[in-house]
């Protein structure tokens, strides 16, 4: 398994961040303190990193590109928002605005299921995976793959967006759901909640990285790579690839849902814009820019692009789409496997400079 070094490097950096977030966030180190928005930003970027890993697991792992992971991300986010709204109601007895607008006198009764935090967590772990299973089953079974699969996932999230934009779907329509009161007992928007959520997100990324690497190094991971290389051949070896892909697909969806669950309390709102096909495409772009297949590239890409986005959208908003587009074109044309390629390339250039130059080989796609 290639890229062991970068995995340990990434794991080390994540652990460091995990230690530093509470220290700097609460200003425990003399003279060094992070403002709350920086803590919050770090937490959000970690959620995007988790999301990117979910996409990379499928794309880098099995060669299946999802352009609809925003669907699972939003699914986790909506479930979390429901729980937060229910607990806000329990504390304040004030109905959220969107229910009042719709003329409801109270929450629909089934929302009570979101009262319990463990039950909500279970729902986040199970429901998006179930949706992924249903969609994956019909798609993989009929051998929908490649570009076809990517576009159909995009159509799926697009449809979901249209659905959630409607007010009568019951989840706040285009205004979304907001007005969270407390997160795990800590006041929403406060420093403690921000540090807790950012740390949780970082821990989730770290756990997903280590778990994901173990998974990819196992026989299951090898089977996924075999699917990426030559799926029909694997079937002629007697493997029903449907179930292998489905397993990875559901795991990937769950990972995205966890990312959404952690993301929503940090931004304090959820609305259908998370289902916009553009977000789902951007996730793929992060992975493409960082480099596929090793999970560390996904983290790198998500962190780089999002930090750049936060900075540029404030500094030069009209410039950002151009920068993003050109970045994508540059990476896609010059660095077929993303920024991680830079390291291999620079190594190759060094070798070429040496007198006995090695024969040049195009990098594997």
């Amino acid at each position: 398994m290639k890229g062991e070094g970068s995995t340990w490097l990434a794991a080390g950096l994540l652990s460091l961040l995990l230690v530093l977030l509470p220290l700097l966030g609460f200003g425990l180190l003399p003279g060094l303190a992070l403002p709350i928005y920086a803590v919050n930003l770090a937490g959000q970027v970690m959620c995007f990193a988790l999301l990117a890993m979910a996409v990379d697991l499928m794309w880098g792992g099995a060669g299946v590109l999802s352009l609809g992971h925003g669907l699972f991300f939003a699914f986790g986010g909506y479930l979390c928002a429901m729980h937060l709204l229910r607990s806000a109601y329990a504390a304040t007895h004030k109905l959220p605005d969107f229910l009042l607008f719709m003329g409801h006198g109270g929450f629909p009764s089934w929302w009570r299921l979101a009262d319990s935090a463990p039950l909500t967590l279970l729902a986040v772990l199970v429901l998006p995976a179930l949706l992924a299973f249903a969609f994956g089953y019909v798609s993989f079974r009929s051998r929908v793959n490649g570009v076809y699969f990517s576009i159909i996932t995009q159509a799926l999230t697009y449809t979901a967006m249209l659905l959630m934009f409607r007010n009568d779907t019951g989840f706040g329509g285009n205004n979304g759901m907001t007005g969270f009161h407390a997160i795990a007992g800590l006041p929403a928007g406060g420093l403690a909640a921000a540090v807790l959520l950012a740390s949780l997100s970082t821990a989730a990324v770290l756990a997903a990285l280590l778990g994901g690497r173990a998974l990819l190094a196992s026989r299951f991971g090898r089977l996924l790579r075999a699917i990426r290389d030559d799926e029909p051949r694997l079937r002629f070896l007697g493997y029903d690839t449907l179930w292998l892909k489905l397993a990875a697909w559901c795991a990937s969806a769950t990972l995205a849902a966890i990312a959404g669950m952690l993301y929503v309390p940090q931004v304090g709102i959820i609305n259908p814009s998370l289902l916009d096909p553009t977000l789902s495409l951007e996730i793929a772009v992060w992975v493409a820019i960082g480099g596929r297949g090793g999970l560390t590239g996904a983290i790198l890409g998500a962190v780089l692009v999002n930090v750049l986005k936060f900075w540029l959208s404030a500094a030069a908003p009209t410039l950002w789409p151009f920068v993003l587009a050109l970045l994508v074109l540059l990476v896609v044309l010059a660095l077929p496997n993303g920024l991680l390629d830079l390291r291999n390339r620079s190594r190759a250039w060094l070798l070429e400079l040496a007198p006995a130059s090695l024969p040049r080989r195009r990098p594997a796609r």
Partner: protein
Amino acid sequence: MSTAIAVEALTVGFGDFIAIRDLSFHADYGTVRGVIGPNGAGKTTLLDVLTGKSRPRRGRVLLDGTIDLAPLDEVARALAGIGRKFQKPSVFEALSVWDNLDLALRLHRRSLLREVFAPAAAKAAPIAALLETIGLTALRDQAAGTLSHGQKQWLEIGMVLVQEPKLLLLDEPVAGMSEEETAHTAALLHRLRAPGRSIVVVEHDMDFVEQVADAVSVLHEGRTLFEGSMAEARGNAQVIEVYIGR
């Protein structure tokens, strides 16, 4: 000698094009059957139908004389004991030689879950033995994509072998091989003969077929032109006319 695979009145077509027309064919356990014929005779299509890659328009394919293969997909056929080496070497290039064989070796045909979680140690002995057989022990940790053409052919033969197939289908196993490699492959095939195994070799190299096959079928334009020994085939006027003579 019982029949391993029997094909009856098979017709296969793509659109307006008929690749195989009313073909009958069989291969027995314990034998090696050669299939020869000019390009477009339907040889590869025949293998496609046997493995479930293509669906026939008419006709039956029976395994062991009783099992109708029509309802089985390619996965089920592979699990039922049909192994195939493709014309174009098909190995998993990103995986090492060892991992290629590790995936090909099935310990739990009935349960994918148990297969995925089978301990690597349980597969080590048979894989090591097979690596000796195909002569790739030294390259066991190398990515399959970096092997030479001949080495890929052997690796793929090894992958098919490790499945322990009842019916072994080889599509041009020596295409692109040097004479030495071809001889090596022929020797390998001799060792593969077993009473419970039927081997079908599709090949253009006639000397190779004569060397390994007990009997040959000559296909021409989707039909069986001749069945018998290679020596008889060489003397058959029709065969000479459509194939050998040119």
